[in-house]
């Protein structure tokens, strides 16, 4: 398995040229998305803390906290998916990297990156379809609070789009390739 990369301390390759410029822009977007994800995570913790305080000590009914924290955490997960991918933080099995010669290993990596891109693009498309249906049909969740579902679906769609753009850039920049010794 590839090691668990700590994104907070990972060193990032800095590509040059037009693609490097696009990557620079995407890094800013990824940074903002990760910041939003961090804030959402902290907010979810506060919401759940308030749920305990409100229900147990102040006897206030809790009907929205679980769902709100669920939306916040889901949003944090999808919105930071591209930021994690930029750092190659989604773990995979790299057992063959130790066996294959460099040229064959680079082909393997290219295929893996392409398959990842293909699946994520398909999933991203389905997220946008889901979002479109939620907006058109004015879908809401089944709970008593009943928030509109375009909120979590929208976060999924935007997060997956950022991830797909990141994957395209990594494919074009070939930043997964092993350098010859």
């Amino acid at each position: 398995m590839t090691g668990f990369v700590d994104p907070a301390t990972a060193t990032l390759p800095k590509p040059r040229g037009p693609l490097g410029f696009v990557q620079g822009l995407l890094d800013r977007i990824n940074g903002l998305a990760a910041l939003a994800g961090g804030i959402a995570m902290g907010a979810a913790g506060l919401v759940l803390t308030w749920e305990v305080v409100g229900r147990y000590f102040l006897k206030i009914a809790s009907d929205w906290q679980d769902e709100l924290s669920s939306f916040l955490l889901l949003g944090a997960t999808f919105m930071s998916a591209g930021w994690v991918q930029r750092r190659r933080g989604h773990v995979g099995i790299d057992a063959l990297a130790h066996v294959l010669p460099i040229w064959a290993d680079n082909i393997r990596r290219l295929i893996a990156d392409f398959l990842t891109f293909a699946f994520c693009s398909f999933f991203c498309w389905k997220c946008w379809t889901l979002l479109g249906e939620a907006i058109t049909d004015e879908q809401t969740s089944d709970s008593a609070w009943g928030p509109p579902l375009w909120i979590p679906y929208g976060l999924m769609a935007v997060g997956m789009t950022i991830l797909v753009i990141q994957l395209i850039l990594q494919l074009l920049l070939r930043d997964g390739a092993r350098a010859r010794p």
């Binding site: 301390t9 919401v47 305990v52 063959l96 990842t116 999933f123 979590p152 679906y153």
Partner: protein, 448 residues
């Protein structure tokens, strides 16, 4: 094609795609989608995103990012070093007390942080140099910390047990309680081994000294005054209170598991802000950064693993495989042994998260049919998966140790962990002979 044939194809495709090096999450999603396309109604493809959303919005699963946040807050602070120093001062007079202090510090830290690598890193960075300074062999020091770190996936709040609760549809509260007895058993076994090993190393050192050789530091006694012992407590007590407070909130009926996760994360951040002054942007950025990285990676694997399991269930692969296993008419212990060997082999390649979600639909029905308690099995499975953290080829904790003590050769670290792998096997045997080690506490608490 029969469900079993499709299942074999599904398994083969999964192996090929996983070994291509694709991220595990997207590899599982790809296999599931391709089989949806090939073997399920076309309309099912339209529900892929909705399936993942519905599975991931389980409030039990969403406790995971918050428990990771709690662990990162404590792990990135100096709490680990302070905890270890305090225990060292209090256990200094016990033979092999330094090793015992490391084991107990690992157990307590694992229970606070819930992460094996974080425990290894936090306790090992101060514990390993100190043990080596005091004459312990490098391999033993590294093995002890690596093994102590594994307690993170057994003691509550264990992410592994949270996932197992979801996959096996078992009570999370009962599973957390069931992990405590075996966790304490392992702490006890590791501590006894640390004392025995210290005795052996001290005997060898005395022999060398008697033959006119140099005096090993392992023979010198370190004494702490009461003042020093008491001074070590104030920085540690708040974290111990956090640990017990979270458990009281959970089992006292004050908070649900998800609320406990939120409360624990907020309290941990508040504590490190108050005790270590870690409230600046530069202090919080690494905490939230590593939390986002780990939780996004894990939640993506979980979401896609659940899609993968959904396809297995729709195509009757899991049911077919479970029926096939039952039809072999294996005795219950052979069945258990075969399943545990499968878990060990999968542990060579996959993280515990994926092992649980991918195998649960197949292995749990035969185990239930054979009369095994699934709460007990969840804990046994976790101990077996713990072994995967300290043996090659994955051995995540081994690599963490190599990072914090790079001058200890990898071979020494691996050999240092071997006795602990054997102790874990002993713990599994003991749990099979005396299931109450895991089940007594949840049975007692939930019967009250």
């Amino acid at each position: 094609m029969s469900p079993l044939d499709i299942g074999l194809l599904y398994g083969a495709a999964t192996l090929i795609v996983l070994f291509s090096g694709m991220p595990i999450a997207f590899a599982l999603g790809t296999v599931a989608t391709v089989f949806m396309l090939g073997f399920m109604p076309t309309a099912s493809l339209d529900t892929v995103a909705q399936n993942v959303f519905e599975e991931m919005s389980s409030i039990t699963l969403l406790t995971i990012p918050l428990f990771i946040l709690k662990g990162a807050a404590i792990g990135k602070s100096k709490a680990g070093a302070d905890l270890y120093s305090a225990l060292h001062a209090w256990l200094g007079r016990v033979p092999g007390g330094l090793g015992v202090a490391v084991v107990i510090a690992c157990g307590l830290f694992a229970a606070m942080a819930g992460s094996s690598p974080a425990t290894c890193s936090a306790i090992g960075s101060s514990g390993i140099p100190e043990m080596r300074r005091r004459g312990y062999s490098p391999g033993f020091a590294a093995g002890l910390v690596a093994a102590g770190g594994t307690l993170g996936i057994l003691l509550p709040p264990s992410i592994t047990l949270i996932l197992y609760a979801v996959a096996a549809e078992q009570s999370l509260g009962k599973l957390f309680l069931a992990g405590i007895g075996p966790g304490l058993l392992l702490v006890g076994l590791f501590a006894i081994y640390a004392m025995i090993h210290h005795g052996q190393e001290a005997t060898r050192a005395r022999k060398v000294l008697a033959e006119g050789g140099p005096r090993s530091p392992i023979l010198s006694e370190e004494r702490f005054t009461w003042r020093e012992k008491l001074q070590a407590l104030p920085r540690v007590m708040p974290f111990i209170l956090l640990l017990t407070g979270v458990m009281v909130a959970l089992y006292g009926g004050i908070a649900t598991p998800s609320e406990t996760a939120g409360l624990g994360a907020v309290m941990a951040i508040a504590l490190i802000a108050v005790i270590y002054g870690a409230w600046h942007w530069r202090d919080l950025t690494p905490i939230f950064g590593s939390t986002l990285g780990e939780s996004t990676m894990l939640m993506m694997i979980i979401g896609m693993s659940l899609l993968y399991s959904y396809v297995m269930s729709y195509l009757h692969i899991s049911q077919g495989a479970a029926e096939w296993i039952v039809a072999q008419h294996l005795s219950r212990w052979v069945l258990l042994a075969a399943i545990l060997v499968l878990v060990v082999v999968l542990g060579f390649f996959l993280p515990p998260v994926s092992i649980i979600l991918m195998t649960a639909p197949i292995i749990l029905p035969p185990l239930r049919a054979a009369g095994f308690d699934l709460i007990w099995f969840g804990v046994v499975m976790s101990v077996v998966m713990e072994m995967g953290l300290i043996h090659p080829p994955v051995g995540l904790n081994i690599f963490v140790i190599s990072k914090i003590a790079p001058d200890i050769p990898l071979k020494d670290v691996v050999f240092g962990t071997l006795p602990f792998v054997l102790l874990m096997m002993l713990a599994v045997v003991l749990m099979c002979l005396i299931p109450g080690i895991a089940t007594a506490l949840p049975d007692w608490i939930y019967r009250k």
